[in-house]
């Protein structure tokens, strides 16, 4: 239990230090030491609890509960202040509503609730802790150099790095709290902290766009928070005060379905599923480490974490199917929208939304096979996505653009970063890398579930779409342009450390994922579902063969070979210079420029998003009605 408390409180202490420290050097040391400490403790956690199954810990719940309530009220007042200051009355209304309910709960019900075990740990928590601890810390280390560059690039913005790093670490602390809490009141507390942290980080630059987008994120997540509080009130009043996550899962579906669907709704908002996808796309205005953190190891992962936790309740219920459908439609539409985007960060954002959709679909189906796929998706997505974000951030500072078209021929200009990006992209959609393994598992899971064929068909189309936008991006990076200046010099060692670690993790997890599955995921499934699944031995061997081939093939370039004659590409008989410029009509010298297909007439953002918002809002309505129907009738 000391380890759990260390992980929750340790980052918090670092956060306080961060607020006080203003010198670069001191900040560097504290962040690096904390990152090392957090990473090491999560691994220690794996070592000491990895084979122990589910363990519950009791903790002074009553006093802590009061303390948390007070902090929540302080946060509410703070948000109210900001809401009034920026005249955002939606936020004000939602905060008032939520606080009123919290006060009502605290006065009338809090003393009747007795949660014996507030903290717990099981294999799924450990997986989440590893993701938060290792990837989250690496992002913080990366942020040290990035934010320094960022403020050199944006002299007009006030340097508030102490606040920035303070929130980053508070965020990690809240995430650890979230995945270790058994008491739903605690889950809610940490849930609200992540909402607040992401709001502050998105609005970090305080530009008008940033502030607007931060408020969008805030009201959407507050809406989820309100649903969460309603769920807690329901549990307190209608379900006899069950407040432990374990107890909720152990009690009958009829009793807990309504609150679980409400919490599921909160999960949808946090996981940025349609109709709430716009906040995550808007969050792209924040500095890149924030995007990386929100997308890979925190925030959105909190949303899918809670959904996967509650999956046994969703399993084989109509509401669960509707939830799965929301996820599947989000997967399909977000993948399609990603095709039409040329801004690299927006492509990444839509791809995150899509992959979270897939995880939500798995959680809604809720069978052991689906959950196996969902957890694999969470792991692999976190690694590849953080790698991609951090690479894009590094490139952005060098080429002053985040547009994919401007990354043309990056393999010549920034060979190592481009190679890391290619690894990250391959990790997102190609065999034998992680995300593809997960999609494979998802196909298997869907087809074995009742009515699963609907989901398989959606998945088949969706993954064809993801293939298109990833492959064209990859192609753009790998264009071999005429010799250009190398922009890779003077990239900071912190950045290399984070990028190379994540690149290595992307490859290594593919090799060791059978071990991850058998030591962590399968025991978790066995305990919660009484059934396990895995890839067959043959397939694992074949995948590893493919992986070796992919690793070895690039070495073939190093082999001695007879010199090949180089010719300039064919330009329709036009006289072409080696730099691919040519003389066009009336003798003007023109540069050749190639650009990708974006097919906006089919995959336009506005059109598809509007469609998605209507569809998914309707589905959420159906989900609530069906849950209410089941909960009331039975």
């Amino acid at each position: 239990m000391q380890l759990l408390l260390f992980l929750i409180l340790g980052p918090l202490i670092t956060a306080i230090f961060m607020l006080l420290v203003r010198k670069d050097q001191e900040r560097n040391w504290i962040v690096k030491l904390s990152a090392l400490g957090i990473g090491a403790v999560t691994i220690l956690l794996l070592g000491s609890y990895g084979d122990k199954g589910t363990l519950y810990f009791s903790f002074a719940a009553e006093s802590t509960g009061l303390f948390m309530f007070l902090i929540e009220m302080v946060i509410a007042v703070f948000i109210l202040y900001l809401g009034i200051k920026y005249k955002n009355y939606l936020v004000v209304g939602l905060t008032l509503l939520q606080s009123a309910m919290m006060v009502y709960f605290e006065v009338f019900y809090a003393h009747t609730i007795d949660v014996k075990y507030s903290l717990f740990i099981d294999q799924f928590s450990i997986i989440m802790a590893l993701i938060i601890g290792i990837i989250g810390s690496l992002i913080c280390v990366y942020a040290l150099s990035y934010m320094k560059d960022f403020h050199e690039h944006h002299k007009e913005l006030p340097d508030r790095r102490n606040i920035f790093f303070c929130i980053m670490f508070a965020f990690l602390s809240a995430m650890f709290g979230l995945v270790f809490s058994n008491n739903l009141l605690w889950v809610l507390f940490f849930w609200e902290i992540t909402t607040l942290c992401s709001f502050l980080l998105i609005g970090y630059t305080k530009t008008e766009e940033a502030t607007n987008n931060a408020f969008t994120a805030l009201w959407m997540n507050l809406l989820g928070g309100v649903a969460f509080v309603v769920a807690i009130l329901y549990l307190a009043t209608q379900a006899g005060g069950i407040m432990g996550l374990g107890e909720v899962l152990a009690s009958g579906k009829a009793i807990v379905l309504i609150p679980v669907v409400l919490i599921g709704f909160a999960g949808l908002t946090k996981a940025a599923q349609l109709p709430f996808s716009s906040w995550l796309v808007g969050a792209m205005v924040a500095p890149t480490p924030v995007s990386a953190l929100l997308h890979s190891s925190t925030m959105v992962k909190a949303g899918v974490y809670i959904l996967v936790r509650l999956a046994p309740v969703f399993q084989a219920t109509f509401s669960g199917y509707v939830l799965a459908f929301i996820g599947a439609i989000t997967f399909l539409l977000a993948s399609a929208i990603a095709i039409s985007q040329s801004n690299a960060k927006r492509v990444l954002a839509y791809s995150t939304i899509a992959n979270l959709g897939l995880i939500v679909a798995c959680a809604g189906i809720g069978t052991y096979e689906a959950i196996w796929a969902a957890i694999l998706l969470i792991i692999f997505h976190a690694i590849s996505k953080s790698l991609l974000f951090l690479s894009v951030g590094t490139v952005e500072h060098r080429i002053e653009s985040r547009d994919i078209e401007d990354m043309n021929g990056l393999i010549i200009r920034m060979p190592r970063i481009a190679a890391l990006m290619v690894i990250g992209i391959a990790g997102m959609f190609l065999a034998p890398f992680g995300m593809l393994i997960s999609k494979w598992a998802a196909i298997q899971a869907f087809i074995d579930a009742p009515y699963g064929f609907l989901f398989v068909i959606i998945l088949a189309f969706g993954s064809a779409l993801t293939l298109f936008f990833w492959a064209k991006w990859m192609g753009r990076l790998l264009v071999v342009t005429p010799k250009q200046e190398n922009l890779e010099t003077n990239i900071d060692s912190n950045i290399w450390l984070a990028l190379i670690s994540l690149g290595g993790l992307t490859a290594i997890t593919c090799f060791i994922f059978p071990a991850i599955s058998s030591t962590l995921i399968e025991p978790f499934l066995l305990q919660n579902y009484g059934n396990v699944t895995q890839l067959s031995q043959d397939n694992v061997i074949i995948m590893i063969m493919m992986l070796f081939m992919i690793v070895l093939l690039p070495l073939s370039i190093l082999m001695p070979q007879r010199k090949h004659r180089h010719l300039t590409p064919y330009m329709g008989g036009m006289t072409t210079n080696p730099d691919m410029s040519f003389y066009g009509a009336i003798g003007l010298k023109r540069d050749m420029k190639l650009s990708n297909y974006y097919i906006t007439s089919w995959f336009g953002e506005v059109k598809l998003q509007t469609l998605g918002i209507y569809l998914c809002t309707g589905l959420i309505g159906i989900m609530f009605v069906s849950a209410a129907y089941l909960g009331v009738i039975i």
Binding site: Q444, I457, A460, L467, F468, V480, D538, R565, H566, G572
Partner: protein, 285 residues
């Protein structure tokens, strides 16, 4: 379940069979067009000549992509004929295809660039149908293993008639036949600049040609699975399907990529939904 014999047989025999199919293809096509046509062995002569040509490249990376395309296509087919997992086979096929696309991208040439984009559109167009076909086979036989699917005692095509038709539809794309040969074509009259393969020449182009032979044999193997209950009927069916593709090829002109994409998706969605739903409700699953 993996049979090494099948894999080795594929690696050794597929280029011979694939080359012969290409030769017969050209002969029949010629007759359909009222020409005599080249000798059956002409594709081998062509490839042999390509390997004797001077080694020229647009950049050094191209060879790597072409070799990777070649190796992963062989891997795909070998895994298929070894009786491996059908989904993994499809993923390996995609990987191979991506290497060809990257090769075309890397050349930094307008023609091969257009070819690469169109090749990606083709992949996007056909992939859902291929996955749906594999899933259909799984629903009937309860296995993704090519070995188990092939030894299923009843004719799969009776359970998956719509999916079979859908698969034939996208097979036209995969075999690079008109009207869906949008990224590159075998017809000299269709284009002078050969899309995705524009910047490949000499031995590298020869390699891509041989890869296509491997691919053809693998694809026909996929068609065979629908009829695997009886080897004789299976081979006849495969021959008839190929003839049908030839007829379509010679009787139609290339269409726009929009139509390729839309029609393939529409057909995949309709046949996939209809056939899988029918199987589900008829209680086959």
């Amino acid at each position: 379940m993996i049979s090494i014999v099948g894999a080795v047989a594929f690696i050794l025999l597929a280029p011979v069979i694939g080359g012969l199919i290409a030769g017969i293809d050209r002969k029949i096509s010629a007759h359909m067009q009222g020409r005599v046509g080249p000798p059956i062995l002409q594709p081998f002569y062509d490839v042999g000549k390509l390997f004797e040509k001077e080694k020229t490249v647009a950049n050094d990376m191209q060879r790597f992509y072409a070799i990777s395309y070649f190796i992963f296509m062989i891997f795909t087919g070998a895994l298929f004929f070894a009786g491996g997992d059908l989904l993994l086979v499809i993923f390996a096929l995609t990987l191979a295809q991506i290497f060809l696309v990257l090769g075309a991208y890397s050349a930094n040439s307008p023609y091969s660039h257009i070819g690469a984009e169109r090749e990606l559109i083709q992949i996007m167009a056909y992939e859902p149908m291929v996955i749906i076909a594999a899933v259909g086979m799984y629903v009937v036989t309860k296995s993704f293993n090519v070995g188990s699917i092939a030894s299923y005692p009843l004719p799969l095509v009776l359970f998956l008639p719509a999916i079979f038709i859908g698969f034939i539809y996208i097979l036209t794309i995969k075999l690079r036949k008109s009207p869906f040969d949008i990224s590159t074509s075998h017809h000299a009259h269709q284009e002078i600049v050969k899309g995705v393969t524009t910047e490949f020449s000499g031995p590298t182009l020869g390699l891509i040609e041989v890869t296509h032979w491997y691919e053809t044999v693998f694809l026909l193997g996929f068609v065979y699975l629908f009829f695997a209950f009886s080897p004789l009927i299976g081979i006849i069916a495969v021959a008839l399907v190929y003839l049908l593709e030839l007829l379509i090829d010679n009787a139609s002109a290339r269409v726009k990529w929009q139509l390729v994409m839309k029609s393939s998706w529409l057909i995949a969605a309709i046949v996939g939904l209809a056939n899988l739903a029918a199987l589900y409700y008829l209680g086959v699953v």
